[in-house]
């Protein structure tokens, strides 16, 4: 074993998160004072295994594996109430997005989550047609449902279609090529 000291400082987890939020507005996660406003104010906090304030504490403590194993950020409803109320001006909702991206890139998220597939399907759909198409989107979670719920969903969808609230065929926007070129500039995504 070599005992030579490495000159390169390893990138800490909190540093990785800071880089992730580099382009986002707001103050760095390290400015958190643990007041708990985000957790107390979160409308879906009851469903989270770890609420935002504790998640930030875990990031600060470098608990990378534990943070990536939580489901909290997949439950975030993006209501931005935490971001608006945070006394330290941290963009917590953006942090939740950042963590979602991070775990997708590293393919490190609980297997049974529908969030990652759902998000991926949604983005691909938008990139391909310029519009969201619910029947395709539904397949990302449809088969995880039990028989009863599946039936309920299908009935609901049929009713909506009959009323004209749900498109039967996927819609496309005009000048789709221009839109795709725009998207390519933003996201380095394949065809």
């Amino acid at each position: 074993m070599s005992t030579t000291a490495t000159t390169e400082t390893p990138v800490t987890f909190s540093r990785e998160i800071a880089n992730l939020l580099h382009a986002a507005g707001g103050n760095p996660v390290s400015s958190c004072m643990q007041c708990g406003t985000c957790s107390g104010t979160c409308p879906v906090g009851d469903f989270m295994d770890v609420r935002p304030q504790r998640l930030i504490r875990m990031i600060d403590a470098g608990m990378k594996d534990q943070v990536m194993a939580t489901r909290s950020f997949w439950y975030c409803a993006s209501c931005y109430q935490c971001t608006v109320r945070c006394p330290r001006g941290i963009d917590i909702a953006e942090l939740m997005y950042g963590l979602k991206r991070f775990t997708i890139w590293r393919s490190k998220y609980p297997e049974d989550l529908i969030g990652p597939t759902f998000s991926e399907t949604f983005v691909k759909n938008i990139v391909r047609t310029g519009r969201s198409y619910e029947p395709v989107l539904a397949t990302s979670y449809f088969f995880t449902l039990g028989l009863k719920e599946m039936l309920q969903e299908a009935t609901g969808a049929t009713m909506l279609m009959l009323k004209g609230r749900l498109p039967v065929l996927p819609a496309r926007i005009k000048r789709l090529e221009n839109f795709k070129r725009m998207i390519k500039r933003i996201i380095p995504i394949g065809d």
Partner: protein, 674 residues
């Protein structure tokens, strides 16, 4: 003043200060000294570890003697800190103190640069500028201006009261100006004071009445400072005395008029009781108000209300039975024709003690203040627990019920990027005090929702412990939401993450107390402009130095005390008020101030008499001599701002220490090759 132009050849001594590592770490001071040594006119150049130290100053003095120096340049820190020190050293060495020039190579150079080579080059350029400039300096004399011994104290809270009493007891004449009808400020509204729990009224009101009866204090309540002119030692101040429709000299404070008012029941919100109680149109703010003089609110008094002037202003009518005038009888103190009055006074020094205002809780709607009647601010609760308050000290909600559970929300309008970033410093302690008093009055379960408990004062931590021992609950987490409990129970739910428990607490309570933070007064900016002070980023008045001149401002002769400088508790406020009084006294007892000779002067032969400088002078120091048709500058009033110098079309106004030749020489020096 004689402007003695030096005729002899300049022999300049140049001193480069290391300031420990502050300068030497970024600038090669030895190289700068070596460079300076070779410049024309320089007799010697040295670098030294601390020029401001006694040996450093001695160095200048002995060099002046030993090397026949007739000019001195010191490159060190800001002139604000040590220009005075080095001028003194120069003078002690035997030459005129204004044959000295200071170069700031710390704030302007080493502290703001990182590249040593470039910083050193810059320092050389700065020093070269000063060397060329100082060669053209003339010997000048400081002038002495006498100080008027009277003092103006603005604000009659505990800070203003204490400062005024200290000065008055020392035999100084004090004008105490208070905006409200009575002095006492916020402290008069409090029930008990932390951490000793002594009753605020018991310790304050004797001081208030001493102010009212002190022969050396002129108390002007219900008045505001309208205009300030002049300079240290000689301020002319205009005070606006608002009409209270009562002749203060004739009113005996019997309050017969109040009980005989045509309004049988008090009907109008009472400002002193935070609008929780009611008062009549003729009223006295509270029982121990000083001065013991009633006042009439023209907005609601029938005699005014029923008649308005063309601009909507209240006009004396004849529509009321005026039972108050009847009750006043022979005293004849009620005067409906009273008008606003402007008083002009001369003072030498000013103490600004204008205090604070509490945070407006409606700015953060999710705490429910103004929406749910059982959400109170801490100042309202101070009145509720006060025996002389609107409920006589019975803590009851707006519906008359006594609360069984109470939540106290800390940090409302403090420590928050969305409202105020600063910690208001007193809220933790007053929340503990209110928790104790509310528990004492009602026996309720009390929950304190805090972020960090800050109890760093004398006896504060012990108080925290005793309140905790009484069974008050502490939850570490800021309240994130307040909403009514489902099912119409009338209770409110306070929702907060208990960060220590890792669970969301949804606590049903009868009453929510918002521990609102302290903010600068709404008109702090106007006051700041009037006294030519500075403000910090939060809007509190800025002290001259945070450690060494905590009650001085950047305007000589104007001092600050109390919460107008930053949030602070009563002990600190009183300490600061005493300090401000001592600083004012130091100036008064010295009897005079020395003024910088950087005044402007007119070269009479060249003045064309165009008068363009006259209206431009911000200090009205320039008058026009009609006989000679020339402008005249009053040296005592000139502050050396240079406005007239720049504006003179014929270039016939010059300014000491800033003559064109000196400035151009400095520019050339800075820009010349180094």
């Amino acid at each position: 003043m004689a402007n003695i132009k030096a005729t002899e050849q300049p022999r300049i001594g140049v001193y480069i200060c290391h300031c420990g590592h502050n300068i030497a770490a970024t600038i090669d001071v030895a190289a700068v000294a070596k460079f300076a040594e070779k410049l024309p006119g320089v007799a010697l150049a040295r670098d030294y570890k601390y020029m401001c130290s006694a040996p450093g100053q001695d160095l200048i003095q002995s060099d002046i003697e030993g090397h026949k120096l007739n000019r001195v340049v010191v490159a060190s820190c800001s002139p604000l800190l040590h220009e005075h020190t080095f001028r003194n050293a120069t003078e002690k060495g035997g030459i005129n103190p204004f044959l000295f020039q200071m170069v700031n190579i710390r704030e302007h150079n080493s502290w703001v640069h990182t590249d040593r080579a470039i910083a050193t080059e810059k320092a050389k350029a700065q020093v070269q500028g000063a060397i060329r400039r100082v060669a053209g300096h003339s010997a000048l004399e400081t002038k002495r201006v006498p100080i008027h011994p009277d003092v103006l104290v603005v604000g009659g809270g505990i800070a203003g009261i204490h400062a005024a009493m200290t000065l008055a007891n020392a035999g100084k004449k004090v004008y105490l100006v208070e905006r409200e009808p009575s002095i006492g400020g916020h402290m008069a509204k409090f029930d008990k004071t932390f951490p000793t729990l002594d009753c605020a009224a018991c310790i304050l009101t004797p001081k208030m009445s001493s102010v009212g009866s002190h022969p050396n204090i002129t108390l002007w309540s219900y008045s505001e400072v309208a205009k300030v002119d002049g300079f240290v030692g000689n301020y002319t101040v205009q005070v606006k005395r608002k009409p209270r429709y009562i002749n203060e000299d004739l009113c005996t404070g019997c309050q017969e008029c109040i009980s005989s008012c045509v309004f049988k029941e008090p009907k109008f919100p009472d400002e002193f009781n935070e609008r929780l109680g009611k008062r009549r149109p003729v009223y006295i703010p509270f029982a121990q108000a000083t001065p013991q003089v009633v006042l009439i609110d023209p907005e609601v008094c029938l005699n005014f209300k029923r008649q308005k002037g063309p601009n909507g202003e209240p006009v004396v009518g004849d529509k009321c039975k005026k039972t108050c005038v009847e009750a006043c009888g022979e005293n004849k103190a009620i005067d409906f024709t009273q008008k606003e009055e402007i008083k002009e006074i001369q003072v030498g020094t000013v103490i600004v003690a204008t205090g604070f205002k509490t945070f407006d809780a409606t700015r953060v709607p999710y705490f429910g203040y103004g929406k749910y009647p059982n959400v109170y601010t801490s100042l309202e609760v101070e009145r509720l627990v006060n025996a002389s308050g609107p409920t006589g000290g019975h803590v009851v909600l707006r519906d008359g019920k006594e609360p069984k559970t109470i939540a106290i929300a800390h940090c409302i309008g403090s420590r928050d990027e969305n409202t105020n970033r600063h910690c208001s410093r007193v809220c933790c302690m007053y929340s503990l005090k209110l928790a104790h008093l509310l528990k004492e009055h009602t026996g309720a379960e009390i929950y304190n929702f805090y972020i960090d408990m800050r109890t760093p004062g004398k006896g504060f931590e012990e108080f925290y412990q005793s309140v905790a021992a009484e069974g008050v609950h502490f939850v570490r987490g800021k309240i994130a939401d307040v909403y009514p409990e489902a099912g119409g129970t009338g209770k409110l739910i306070v929702q907060a993450e208990d960060t220590l428990l890792g669970r969301v607490r949804k606590q049903p309570v009868d009453m929510v107390v918002l521990a609102v933070g302290l903010e600068p007064q709404a008109d702090a900016q106007d006051v700041r402009r009037m006294f030519n002070m500075s403000c910090g980023s939060e809007g509190f008045f800025l002290e001259r130095h945070p450690k060494l001149a905590p009650v001085s401002t950047f305007t000589d002769g104007v001092f600050i005390a109390g919460a107008c400088q930053s949030p602070k508790d009563i002990p600190d406020t009183v300490a600061q008020a005493g300090a401000a009084a001592a600083e004012a006294m130091a100036l008064i007892d010295k009897g005079h101030v020395e003024q910088e000779p950087n005044t402007a002067f007119i070269i009479e032969d060249e003045c064309s008499g165009c008068k363009s400088c006259v209206p431009l002078c911000p200090y009205t120091a320039i008058t026009f001599d009609e006989a000679k048709k020339k402008a005249v500058i009053n040296e005592a009033l000139c502050k050396g701002c240079g406005t007239c110098v720049a504006s003179c079309p014929s270039g016939s106004i010059k300014q000491n220490l800033f003559e064109d030749g000196e400035i151009f020489a400095e520019i050339e020096g800075v820009l010349a090759q180094v």
